[in-house]
Amino acid sequence: MCGVVSERGGLLRDVRVLVFLVFVLLSLFVIYVYPPPPVGAGTNGNLKFGLDLVGGSYLQLKLEGVLVKVEADKGEIIKHEILGLLRGRGENTSVEIVAENETAVVLETAAILTNEELEALNIGSISIERLSAPPENVTETGNITRITITADEGYVVTRYLEDALGADVEPAVYRGVEIYEIRKLVSKEELENVLDAVNASIGRDERGMEFFVEGVTPGTRDLAKEIMETKLNMLGLRDIPIRTVGTDIILIDLAGVDIATARKLIGKPGKFEIRIQTAGEAGEIKKGMRLEEIKNITVHVLYGDEGIASVGAIPQQRRSDDVERWGAPFTLTREGAAALQDACIKYGAVDDPERHELAMLLDDVVIYSAPLSSDLANELKTRPVYNLIAETGEGEDGRRAAKELIIHLKAGALPVPVEIIGSGEVPAPLGEKFRREAALAAALAFMLVALVVYVRYRNGRIVLPMLMTLICEVIIILGFAAATGWQLDLPSVAGIIAVIGTGVDQLVIITDEVLSGAAATPPTQKKKGKTPVKVYLRRVAEAFNIIFASAATTAVAMLALALMALGTLRGFAIITIVGILIGVLITRPAYARIIQEIA
């Protein structure tokens, strides 16, 4: 420590004062000089303002889903499905499980079942044997159909839950437990009923509690976030901050967007449609055209929500003749595949693909249009095709286009249903008012504080440095906000005013300690304008003990607020904590040094 230096110039050589000045200058630099503030920013410089100060809407969304552990036997499920199939035909024949292992289940029944029927159940790969008699004699008792189904348990359970609940189901690992993610909100009772039917139950975790959690996995949450981001970007709303809270809450701030538009954007997923060209020339349908323009030369084939089962996560490449061709893979549902096959045959696309392009539309805008490939056209003549690839071209451009198409395909369907749990709007003129008032409140607070300290000390030489320190403290906080890109919202403003309030408190503590220390000094020493180092240090040390203790308590209280997941008031908490830290570490030490010089 430099201790006491009597001459005025000594202040600038003190490391605490220097650090303080450097931070003030650095803050001003960050706010006004680098990075260069946007044109027209004026006194705001690089400061960013929150939604409530510039106008716009916000959405708080909850992703709906259920994470559940399932104890099930795949044999039972398959048996249940086959029995259901037989009952559908009006037969009451029994089905027995004769063998079961990790990979396969063998069942026997007296009924006759065909490969097609079983495949339609979509529970695994099938092989059928007729024992002891050829199919034409099956009416005789004693003849048995032996069915071997190869499928792992995860697949069977997933398929079963999807059918029974009418929702997407994904096997996943969550907190180290193998679970199923049901991408829809289902009640526990509903799920238990479905599981009871196949002698299955909700599994328990290591503490013996039933593993049934409302929410989605982090992966699904991130996927939903990504999709929303691209969707917003697609609509020309770039740099929209999307934050996630916990695993199932998403917060979106849409500056400059009104609430009706905002709710439409996110509240409803986009409408994805595939249409087929029925008239006109090859290549007539172009990307970016609107539905009205192509309505007369196309007919509807399927909508994304019912026709598309899944979309591949990444672009797929195919190498032919040394050229990389990229495409977006997607899978159709049973209905979707059937609808596509019907349409292609009906409108002649299987024979003349070039003039019968498949067009994909998102929210009534064409995002892709291309003819069937010849081999696909041929295949469609005989049977429905589930797995398709929309090819987008060669090289890097093709890959990028494929990626975009995948996003568009997904933008048509968020992975899980979304509920708006909170929304609101501060229109721009009101935000303008708020901003004016926030500035006014801070200025008024500062003036009142100045008045109070002046009335208390009646000495410009004490009051001025105090107020200067306070101003600098606010500047450093703003510098921090500019440097981190923090958006100043109303809670942040409240935080700044609170910091003005607490900051001056601590300056008062230091001042009183130093002043009473000076007063306690014997007159002989006072004449020389010095305070004995020992008294001064002891006094200041005590002041800092008080300051540190109170700073620590305020900081921990605010920490609790900052950790509140919904995050609405995080601005208040963070600004307060940052202000306290800046105060304790940077401005108080400098002020203590300065005031000691003056006293």
């Binding site: 008032e437 300290v453 607490t502």
Partner: protein, 334 residues
């Protein structure tokens, strides 16, 4: 500052025991207000929309309250409050279709603000608020006990913080303000603020207090002297804080009454009201309750340390202590 000195002399002039009683009575009254609310409405403080869910709309319109009631009658549980042309409409939870319709209706006004909270969000907010308050309290108490390491003074500080919050919450009920996220933030901030002046007081009286003094009498006088010094600093602190918060209140709540140029800011208003109540409660709790407890505690400790034969003298010292400041009050006049 004569006023400050006068206040300091007056408050320190009272007997420690009597000083402690007043804040305890106020706390009891505040607690019964909360208890009444709990019994009557199910929550100690009336929960606002942030916690119950619902939709809040603010519009500026010349239409009368009745006209608006008729216009918005199809939506559930309409409550309309007005301040001049500014109307605040509050609705209960409603379906998504209704909400879209409401938004359409509201956005047709030139000047509006909408806030919509689902009951689900509210429930979550309730749970988190309780959690945040508990965590903040525990952390604060831990910090205080680490700093002071002596149970009585530390417990007195924590008690003051609890009392501040209870009194501030009771005042919320009395002025019919609902609990919002803003008020929760303010209640948490109160923990920090209230502990501030208490730490100052306790540090001043305790740490630099070798009250092992030659006599109990001089020891107590020294304590009183320090108390006064701390109080002078502490009162200045709280007045600066109060003036900053008061500025916030004036701008957020009052400016809009005088000029169209301003709009009320409910968040800042809520925060400032709670802090103002809390800071006044804290003035009382710090300088009456905590100061009283500490005086009593230091007196006891000094008495315990003093040789047994001086016990008798200790009593007279306490009498003198009570009388002393009055004389100080007279002296101040010159």
């Amino acid at each position: 500052m004569p006023l400050l000195d006068a206040v300091v002399e007056r408050v320190t002039g009272f007997d420690a025991k009597r000083l402690v009683v007043v804040p305890l009575i106020v706390l009891l009254l505040a607690a019964s207000v909360l208890a009444y609310s709990q019994l009557a409405f199910g929550t100690p403080v009336k929960l606002g929309m942030d916690f119950t869910g619902g939709t809040l709309v603010r519009i500026t319109t010349a239409e009368s309250k009745d006209e608006l009631l008729a216009k918005f009658s199809e939506f559930p549980n309409v409550i309309i409050r007005e301040a001049g042309d500014e109307k605040i409409l509050q609705f209960g939870p409603m379906s998504n279709e209704e909400k879209e319709k409401l938004i359409q209706l509201v956005t047709s006004y030139p000047d509006y603000e909408i806030k919509d909270v689902s009951p689900l969000f509210g429930k979550e907010a309730q749970a988190q608020t309780v959690k945040a308050l508990v965590i903040a309290f525990l952390l604060m108490a831990i910090v205080i006990f680490i700093v002071f390491r002596t149970p009585v003074p530390a417990a007195a500080i924590v008690f003051c913080a609890v009392s501040d919050i209870i009194i501030a919450a009771a005042c919320l009920n009395l002025v019919r303000l609902e609990l919002s996220l803003g008020t929760v933030a303010a209640l948490l901030m109160l923990i920090g603020y209230s502990v501030d002046s208490n730490i100052l007081l306790t540090t001043k009286l305790l740490r630099s207090s070798p009250v092992t003094g030659r006599s109990k009498k001089s020891g107590m006088l020294k304590v009183l002297e320090r108390l006064k010094e701390a109080m002078r600093t502490g009162l200045t602190m709280t007045s600066t804080t109060l003036s900053a918060i008061f500025a916030m209140f004036v701008v957020a709540a009052c400016m809009s009454l005088f000029s169209e140029y301003y709009a009320p800011i409910p968040l800042l208003r809520d925060i400032s009201i709670v802090l103002i109540f809390g800071l006044f409660a804290d003035l009382m709790n710090t300088w009456m309750f905590n100061a009283g407890v500490l005086r009593f505690y230091l007196g006891e400790r000094a008495a315990a340390r003093a040789p047994a034969e001086r016990r008798k003298g200790a009593k007279t010292a306490r009498v003198e202590k009570a009388a002393k400041p009055q004389r100080g009050g007279v002296r101040r006049g010159k």
